[in-house]
Amino acid sequence: MEPGSFRGHKAIEPPHDAKNYFFDKDMADHTIGWIRMQHAMAPNKPFLAYYAPGTAHAPHHAPKDWIAKFKGKFDQGWDKVREQTFARQKAAGVIPPDAKLTERPQAFPPGTAERRPEEGLRPYDEVYAAALAHCDYQMSRILDTIEAQGELDNTLVIYIQGDNGASAEGGMQGLLNEMTVFNAIPEDMKEVTRRMNELGGPMTFNHYPVGWAHAMDTPFQWTKQIASHFGGTRNGMVIFLAGTHQGQGRPPHAVLLGHRHHADPSRGRRRACAHEHPMACRRSPSRARSLVYTFDDAKAVATYDAVFRDVRQPRIYHEGWVAATTPGVAPWDTSAEVQGRLPAVLAYKWELYNVSKDFSEAVDLAAKEPAKLKELQDLFWTEAEEYNVLPSRTAGSTAST
């Protein structure tokens, strides 16, 4: 993977001649070099380093020996992978004990969870896992560098396993070249099978099948591009407070409960560093709130009126309840817009979840609590108007980013 890149505002030539080039590694090398440089030149001035790897967006690339590490690890099928992941999540305590594993939405075609090795589709998931692990190794290198500089105890690390759910535009068979789906070109299975061994290398722009995306979003419904359900929007985040906030009686590895919608880590970062910016008064008002309050109370719920609205697939959160529309177009259905198959905004079916008790949005209460649903629907339209995000039309599947 040799993406067209910019240094500052200047486009630079992709490293065509570099053998075994990996974007994540290259970016980590730059980050490491920069941290060392700034530490040597101005060690008294703290740094803010932002490492934004390309993984695990398509294409998923990894060295062959990393791919080999995952050979056969997912032969059990993707439904089984979901169940195993769910069990590990409960054992680790990262989800509540009463959380339920959601049912697969009906919009997913039959056979979604089958790996179909007989058709030569085996390695998509293995390559994905290898790419993620390889990327993780690059992050470790950055941390090792900070540690070697003696700065680890003075570094606040914010690690977001984002930036949305796993992506599902790969369709049922996965993609040898992701650009085909955006141009509505079906891939020839013979050609795909012939080139399976190239997956993860520079000649493929590969993307995994829908079933694997769904498994990666365990325990939630849906995937990236679907704003109405947690599979598209809920992400794991870890904040390491080394030194700055220690000694407050908090256990390590605390899992923070409570609902944090629309949170902006930069706000928390700013508060955590006690920064007051002289330009603050010129900033436009934002609903983002600091996360600092979560450092002191693991079970703290949002201290503000958190309303999450999204126009692409309308949903709203308010005081522990989520009202969400049922997706009208699946992420892999890229021709729906062109063919005029998008449902009207006002024709959406709505679902209702009590997420204060139902962590994974597993039980739809729309039929049981119509009054609550109506209340949230009204709130959505009020909020959408107030913040100038009224949905004017249903959004179809677009280029993913």
Binding site: P3, G8, F47, Y50, L156, Q161, D217, F230, I239
Partner: protein, 250 residues
Amino acid sequence: MGAPNPGQDQIRSFTLRISCILRPRVTRAGASRALHELRACLSQGKAGTRSRSRISNQRKKTHGSASIHHDGCRGADRRQLGCWSLGAGSPAPARTTLRRQDRPHDKGLRKGLPKMVEAPKGAPNILLILTDDVGFGASSTFGDRSPRRRWTGWRRTDFRYNNFHTRLFARPRAPHCSADATITAPTRASSWNWHGLPRLRLADVEEQRDLRRNPEAERLHTSWYGKNHNVPTGRTARPGVRPVADRVGL
């Protein structure tokens, strides 16, 4: 005396002004305004028309605050200022000698200069990492098997958030680092949009505006290496490739 010599008047005026700059409290706006006025006077030949008493009165009124007379000489080399006003062929200007303790760059003037922005004492370094398209259950930290070497079992306090939400698309990448950071720091932005289709445009204007300022970018050494969605749409295609969007009229 015979005909008034405008050059002499100017010399007197500037000498007075030079004496005024010893007032320490000035503002950049005041300095800029006064310098502008001074240049305007010179260009119109009106310099040196103020009387000593008027300036003295004004000095009394504006004691301790910014004044156009105080500031008028700040932006230029004071020893050269008189020469500028006299032009070629004029007599040499009277030179004002300042005692060392009165030199503006030694004490007063320094207060008027912009202060370097610094991080508060004890502010930590920050490392921000944001991966792409990784679902909630994809890594071992949150349940899967893909190894995460440093993110669990670390000897430091870690807070794992299981109710953290991002947007459905790329926008969550942007708020973490502002456009300022990409300009002021070494930046490497990748262009993934090879097919040239327009990037998504969501309507939340409120947060778009919020990206413009990032205090950390000024107070800390800031860098951003990796994927970047702040690259303008028109620059995301490869050089020479006209975006598909233009052709199909999207």
